[in-house]
Every structure is written in C-alpha cells, then in structure tokens.
Symmetry: C2
DNA sequence: GTCTATACTTCGATAGAC
DNA sequence: GTCTATCGAAGTATAGAC
C-alpha cells in the first residue's frame, strides 16, 4: 500500500478502481483455494488485465494478502459492539436473553459481505501466517474470553447466576463458539451458503447458551 | 501405492527402507510447512537422494500425501477404544471419572509418535482436501458425537445423570474437545511441544468435564 | 534403485514502449 | 496505467546410463 489508509480501500463508489477489483478478485479466489494456490496470473485474468499491471498497484503478491488482512483487522476493530449498558440489558432480557442478543450483535458486527470471505481466508492461513495466528489468538480468543469472564462476574454480582468459576464459564461459552466458526469455515464449509453464517451460527448457539444458563442459574446444582 | 497394504508401511525394522525414509521426511516437512510449500526436491534433499529417485517409490507428489492420509486412517481405525464394558466402568468410577478415563483412552489411542504429526497435516489440509474433510467430518465429529450421545443416554438410564437432551449434551462435550484440537494444532501450535498433546489436552479437558457433570448431576437444576 | 540430464510448465517479477 | 516481451527461478516429471 502506498498511503496506508486501509479503511478507505473500498470506497463504495459506482465504478470500482482497478485496485479495488484486484482486491475483490483476490479475496474471492484466496478464500476458495488458499493463497499459495492462487497466482498473480489467475487474479489478473479474472480482473481482465495483464499480470504485469498488477504490479502498478501492489509491489508483490504477498503485499496483496497483507493488505487484505490489514483491511480485515481495521474493519473488525471499528465500531464498538455494545451501546446499551450491560446492566440495563440484563434487567430487561435476563441472562439468557442477554447472551443471545450479545451473540447476535457480535456476529452481525463481524459479518459484512466482503468480510465473510476474509473469515475463510483467516481460517485457512492461520497455520502458516504468524501475523494472522497472533491476531486470532489474541483478538479472537483471549480478548473475548476475558470480556465474557468480566460479564459473567457481573452477572454473578447482580445475582442473575450463581457464584462459580467465571474463567471456566467464559471458556465453556466461547470455545464452543470458536468450534462453530471452524465448523462453518473449514470442516463443513459450503461455498454456496457462506454468507448466512450469522443465522446459522445463532441457530447452533441457541441450545448451547440454554444449556449453559440452565447449568448456572440461581438455585441450580452446586 | 503398489500393494495397498498401508498398515505395513512402517515395519519398525532397524534400518528403514528408502520408501519409509521418504514418508517420514514428507510427514515431518508437510506438518511444518503444508503440502503445497514442500517440494519433491525438498524431500529428496533431506532423504539424501535425487528427486528423480522419489519416482521409483511414488508415482507423483500427490500419491505421497494420499499414502500418508491413508496410513493415518487405517491406523486410527485399528484397535477398539473400549475393552471394559461401560456399565462396569461407570459403577467403579462414576460418570465424571468415566469421562476422564474415556478421554484419556481416546487420546492415547490417537497419539502415537508418527501419528501426532499427521494430526497437524490433517488440520492443515482440511480446507482444500475433500477426502480429508469428509473423513474429519464423519470419523472425527459425527461418529464420536453419536457415540457420546449413546453413552449419555445410558448414563441417564442408569440414574448417574438426570434426564436431558443427550444430543445437546454430546455436542457440548465434544465440540469443546475439537476446539482444543484446533487450538493445539493450529491456533496455539508450538512445534517443540507437540508430542505432549495427550497430557495438555487432558489438562484442559478436566475442568470442562467437571463443569458438564456438575450441570447434569442428579438433583441439580432442571 | 540411484544417478545425470533434461523436458516442460508455471511462477513471481521487471523493462520499456505506448 | 496498461500493454508486450522476457527473465530467472522453481516446480513436477521422464528418459536412459549404470
């Protein structure tokens, strides 16, 4: 990238620039076949230019992937997930309702059209791209687990759930969710349905949330 | 392969054959860098022969990977996991003890030295190898989940746990386990510790089993 | 069964005309 | 900014001598 303004990569104007076309094609191809299997020639052909023209927009093949990943990270870190205070939400919907809504808010935030394909790229490149791995481990695992731990602690303080190990509880909730992510984007990946991932995930998440909340509701087992 | 006797690939004799050396080097390299990043030349160099000699043992690069995967599948499907009847185990150790022991037995069965590296290959190749994906989805997800569903149903029949949706229960237990697999072999993969995966997995599995069993023990929450 | 030599393809990337 | 032309490196695979 020349200007480092990742957030302005896609301007949503009527006619996309060549650079935007290249990124769009790259995102699509890499999500389908993986970075190593997609060549500069493949991308150029689909965009409708020669491969040498690619190098007017990116100085190497690696820079294309780096740009995609950086775009993804910036997009994810944009809007905050919660606007209404947790205590208010809890009082209004109860703990199970709160979790369902928080899950939905999170999934809707991370599932915009172009981003959904990059999720698949993240899942694929995780094993060989140290930057992606680092990002996933912290931003997609550790940070949410810590946040959920705080949330459960607050729930316990307010008497919505009984006292228990909130660290265990956070992992119980979130590791299952990450499994669903892998299931959706790798194990059971289906190219044709892959933009409905918010709906599908929520459907699978519902029984999980119910099971967990039943396990720790006030007056339940010790 | 010429003779299809996958199970006899590694004969454990004092001096490994060239074919065995090739497979060993291939397993190691592919587990580290992925199939596409490893070339025939890389493998030949490390074995100590010329690349053309590889073709005396395998007719293509793809056949090497196919052989590795087939070897893996056959090895996994060998010994049965349980020898002692479940009812006896349950009476002796209780439901939580039973699950811990079953987890340990399963993990020990699937974690032999050469196999541990192929687990990493499986995790890596999942996204682009339809055969691996099919195998994982059925043998590593659906079959164990069904088996655990049966097990939980029996536990409920015998009064060790209270009546509940055993399908939900089986997924609660096993999806978490599969997350641990991905965490171990992809997200938090560490080349230097990757043969201790049985011990590490069991350590993480303990609190999970305890949480689940607390949730469904007799006399707990409805 | 291993070697040398090589065919053939595809890859990422560059130079220079327009 | 796109084109033609091309380079050098690396890939899989084969032929044939020993």
């Amino acid at each position: 990238m020349t200007d480092n303004r990742v957030e302005a990569l896609f301007k949503n104007e009527s006619e996309p620039t060549t650079r935007e076309k290249i990124l769009d094609v790259a995102i699509d191809s890499i999500a389908r076949r993986g970075f190593e299997a997609v060549s500069i020639r493949d991308i150029a052909r689909e965009v409708g230019i020669r491969e040498s023209s690619i190098y007017n927009h990116f100085k190497s093949k690696d820079e294309i992937l780096d740009t995609i990943i950086e775009y993804f990270m910036v997009e994810l870190s944009r809007s905050d997930p919660f606007e209404t205070p947790m205590d208010v939400m809890l009082e209004k919907y109860g703990p199970e309702g709160f979790m369902n809504m928080a899950g939905r808010a999170y999934l809707e935030r991370i599932n915009r059209p172009r981003i959904a394909r990059i999720w698949r790229i993240i899942a694929i490149e995780l094993y060989r791209n140290e930057k992606v791995r680092q990002f996933f481990r912290t931003t997609m695992v550790q940070v949410p687990v810590s946040a959920w731990e705080q949330t459960f602690r607050r729930m316990a303080e307010l008497g919505y759930i009984r006292e228990c190990d909130t660290g265990v509880l956070a992992r119980e909730f979130f590791y299952y969710s990450i499994y669903l992510f892998f299931d959706y984007f790798v194990i059971s990946f289906n190219e044709s349905t892959y933009c409905r991932f918010t709906e599908d995930m929520l459907e699978d998440l519902g029984p999980h949330i119910k099971f967990m909340m039943d396990a720790i509701k006030v007056g339940g087992a010790q």
